[in-house]
Amino acid sequence: MASTSSGGIPNQAAGRKLPWSEVIAFVAIAVIVLAGVLAGVLAGASPQGILTNVGFYASIAIIFAVLALGFNLQWGYTGLFNAGIAGFYLIGAYTMAIAITAPSPPIVIGGIPVYPGHLGGYSLPLAVGAILAMLAAGGAAVIIALPALRLRADYLAIATLAFASILQILANNLQSVTGGAIGITGIPKPITFVSANAPFLNAITIVGIGSAILLLFLLLLQFMAESPWGRVLRAVREDEEATMALGKNTFNYKLQAFALGGALMGLAGALFAVTLGYVSPSSSFAPAVTFSVWVMVIVGGSGNNRGVIVGAFLIYGLEWLSVQLKDYVPIALAAGLPTIRLLLIVVGLIAVIAAGVFVLFSRYMPTRGWGRVLRKIQERGWVRNGTIGAFALYGLGWVFVFLEQYKPGAIGDTIFYTRLMFIGVLLIILIIYRPEGILREHKRVLR
Amino acid sequence: MLLQAENLRSGYGEMEILHGVSMTLDQGEMVVLIGPNGAGKSTLIKTIFGLLRPTEGRVRFRDTDITGYHPRDLVIMGLGYVPQTNNTFPTLSVLENLEMGAITRRISPLPLHWNRGSDQRRTQSRMMKDAEIRERAMETVEMFPNLQPKLREHAGSLSGGEQQMVALAKSMMLDPEVLLIDEPSAGLAPKLVDTVFSKIVEINESGTGIVMVEQNAKKALAIADRGYVLETGRNRFAGTGEWLLHNADVGRLYLGGQA
């Protein structure tokens, strides 16, 4: 495994290692923000509008960072693999929305129910709502963990994934509680501003509150990780049987870690409800949220709290940027697509021919001279991978040509799908080549 | 010299357990490896059988250097291995377990024989049709009469002693020249241990060389031709079974507590 200290280059003058990977990550985040700002300027937005937009990026990234911290506590520290992050997130968001909104009765216009209403109207203070959200999500985590924690990791993954999708169905159909497909609107902001600058000021407050919460929990988790409790968690991850033999009730520790992680996810949901001002069972709680959080934690290095926060800002940044650049993509793609396609096919064809020639010639390779070079290449597995890659490229090119006629709608829409594909590719590449994360400083084996 | 291990160094991951161990086995001989826990007995036969890769040292079978060979190649060449635990396929019937033991010599109806990929010149063995394999299974099971009524039962539903018999029968399907057995008595009642040992002696008398790891040192040395005593990954004593059994040092160190 390529797990020498990740990208740390010795800096003689300072006498300690400069964390190059982190520097690069911060530069990347800065570039993302700048590109977003540039897109806003090009679109002719006002400075305040642009700042509000950047504030939106920061607040959602903070929410993802809280999610990632929760998942990191579960997986990075304790080795419990949760595939239902979106479910705990959803519970938190709905609990918050139900707790703090004012009553909203069903609306019926001309005998047709337009809005079914929802449970709630308690108008509780924000902090109480957040605590309730954490309790609800933590309680749900305990319930789901009780049957599944004793089993192998895949049982927990399947159970949590199932749990998350059931919750999404419930949110969609249990109208009397959740407001159905419309959801719950009119969630109050932390501070109500009455001025033209309200969106901007709101964004600033949310980012302020969010960063305070994030910092608080980061310090808390760091403290807990270094405490005896955190050491037991890591021992459970490394070797559960041995920890058990040392007299620790590993089940209770696992349950605690899972519940705390779930509660953090609930808090993220509460923040989300306040940030957006409404919740609905839409794509905000789709399984894709879970997978994005996985990528954030893997990028940041599981078990590394600061790393996963950077990972959250980075990965959500890419998502946000893709939305900002959406309008510019069709133009670029429309100009570039035929070229890309042609290139794919030409490259693929050349590679297929080269691989074919290689396979044919490797049978009758001379032992000396260029034959040795060829053999060395072959021993490294390049031929196999190269051939497969070439066929894939070639096939992809032709598939593109073939499918052009079936492509409906605007090309711009495909950027969302491309983004999810990119997350898929990242998951595969990271888990194969850099399971310890890009920002990882210490050598630790991922389980 | 049928099987020879020279100065083997090996272990799990970065933890070295064998620090240079040697042993030999002659045609038709029975050799027992004894020693305290963690001495590296099981590690030694796993390394010989290619389940662990030695960092140093050689393993020779007849005239071939088999160091680092894949277990499948060794099975094709005529070695067999019976692990200590989990040594049968629990959801396969006894008969299917035996058939699996001969899979490397099966003639497939498609040109996809199960010994493909390994050097077929190394094996002088004859390929067998399905019917022959079944016939061979019936022959083998005659050695183990208590398995005969249970051929169609799942191996996992049998008792521990019967499972040990299935494992032995499975490895005897190809009539190997060398059989490596890891603690055949583990977890068995004393009465069953005697039965298993008598089966092993029977297998040995049919001409198969046996390397056996055993905790039950006295009983094992009594039936063995020769024995090796290992301690912390090194050879400590070596000699005939008789000699080791009556050697004062060996007796004091390793046989004292044994029944």
Binding site: P147, R150, I158, A159, F163, Y417 | P149
Partner: protein, 387 residues
């Protein structure tokens, strides 16, 4: 008895006595009895319900059987791979979608759907081998989580690749429109969506049975699923078995996808939407056990479809006035899954493996009632007591 005659009598007798040992044994008889009891209970339950509630129950049971046959085909494929490669393939639903779309692509281009399905069967087999070679072989021996993560990545790529190429619109297979065949008034079955699906499902179950029970490859696959290390030491070519498992798994996924597309519409998320149903079937039957998957698929599919009348009943205002009751039918497999995870995590048909410890819940209940503790629980208890 066999060994006594074997040593004394002449060789034809001896051969006969050997073969006599191969006659059906107690196990087979036991299985037959169990199977018939299960079938009887099933028939009794359905019969009783339809006696009380009318013929509509039979209609739902028929629908359940059709869904079951799709789920069973998919669950066999998933569980075979699970048994041999040791991880839950979260991309399985998306592989089904891929199979459905490949045959759709061919069938809208003039090829008949049958040929489209056959071609996608083989294309998916190749895709499976590629996945193993390119991705999953690199993750061997790293525990269950990294392959799950990678399979989610594969699923995302397939699902969103389909979305960006074929769009998110619903597609339908170009099959001739036809009416339900009415068996008795109130009970009908569609010739394509019903009968054909059932026939194909049964065919696949039978071919899986023949593969696993009567071919050497199938026996080697079961052996490898039982014990990978021992399979290597026995001389089984485990690499070939792994490729075979991918081929079986992915080609079954393709067929299940086509059947699913026939039953409803073809959308990019059609496979991902049913993945939980399939996981439930696999876990209910015992992970890694193909025969368990058949049983689990039957149970899960039937209970999901047959819960619909009950949920519709719950919708009535005088009961509890549930809204959109039938939308909750997808929650039924989840409830079954949780019950099985609590009480029999190794599946209703599976054997209890070493890793499946008793659930916390049962342990506490047993302890509260003063019952005896299992071996591992006892060790935990001692460890705690020793502090």
């Amino acid at each position: 008895m066999a060994q006594d005659s074997g040593s004394q009598t002449s060789s034809p007798d001896r051969a006969r006595s050997r073969w006599a040992a191969l006659r059906p044994t107690a196990r087979l008889r036991r299985q037959l009895v169990q199977a018939s009891i299960f079938a009887l209970i099933l028939v009794a339950v359905i019969g009783g319900l339809s006696f009380v509630f009318g013929i509509i129950v039979l209609q739902y049971a028929m629908g359940g059987l059709v869904v079951s046959s799709i789920v069973i085909v998919a669950a066999i494929g998933l569980t075979v791979l699970y048994g041999i490669r040791g991880f839950a393939n979260f991309a399985y639903g998306d592989l089904m979608t891929l199979g459905a779309y490949i045959s759709l692509l061919l069938s809208v281009n003039g090829l008949s759907l049958v040929w489209g399905a056959i071609v996608s069967f083989f294309v998916l087999a190749v895709v499976g081998i590629l996945l193993e070679v390119v991705i999953f072989s690199r993750l061997e021996g790293r525990g269950p989580v990294p392959p799950i993560v990678a399979s989610v990545g594969v699923g995302l790529i397939i699902q969103n690749g389909i979305r960006s190429i074929a769009g998110t619109a619903e597609w339908l297979y170009p099959v001739p429109a036809s009416q339900d065949i009415v068996i008795v008034p109130g009970l009908g079955i569609h010739p394509v969506r019903g009968i054909l699906t059932l026939v194909i499902g049964v065919t696949f179950v039978l071919s899986a049975h023949i593969l696993l029970k009567y071919t050497n490859l199938g026996k080697a696959m079961r052996a490898t699923a039982d014990n990978l290390e021992l399979a290597k030491a026995t001389g089984i070519d485990t690499k070939r078995v792994t490729y075979a498992a991918w081929v079986v798994s992915c080609s079954f996924a393709s067929t299940a996808g086509v059947l699913l597309g026939l039953g409803t519409a073809i959308t990019p998320t059609m496979g991902f939407d049913v993945i939980l149903l399939i996981f439930a079937a696999v876990i209910v039957g015992g992970i890694g056990s193909p025969y368990g998957a058949m049983l689990g698929g039957l149970l899960v599919g039937l209970s999901q479809e047959m819960s619909v009348p009950f949920l519709v009943w719950l919708e009535r205002p005088d009961v509890i006035g549930l809204q959109f009751g039938s939308a909750y039918k997808v929650a039924i497999p989840f409830i079954i899954l949780i019950i099985v995870l609590i009480f029999r995590p190794w599946g209703i048909a599976g054997r209890r493996p070493a890793f499946a410890r008793r659930s916390y819940f049962i342990e506490r209940v047993t302890r509260a009632l003063g019952g005896e503790r299992g071996a591992i629980d006892a060790s935990v208890g001692e460890a705690n007591g020793g502090r």
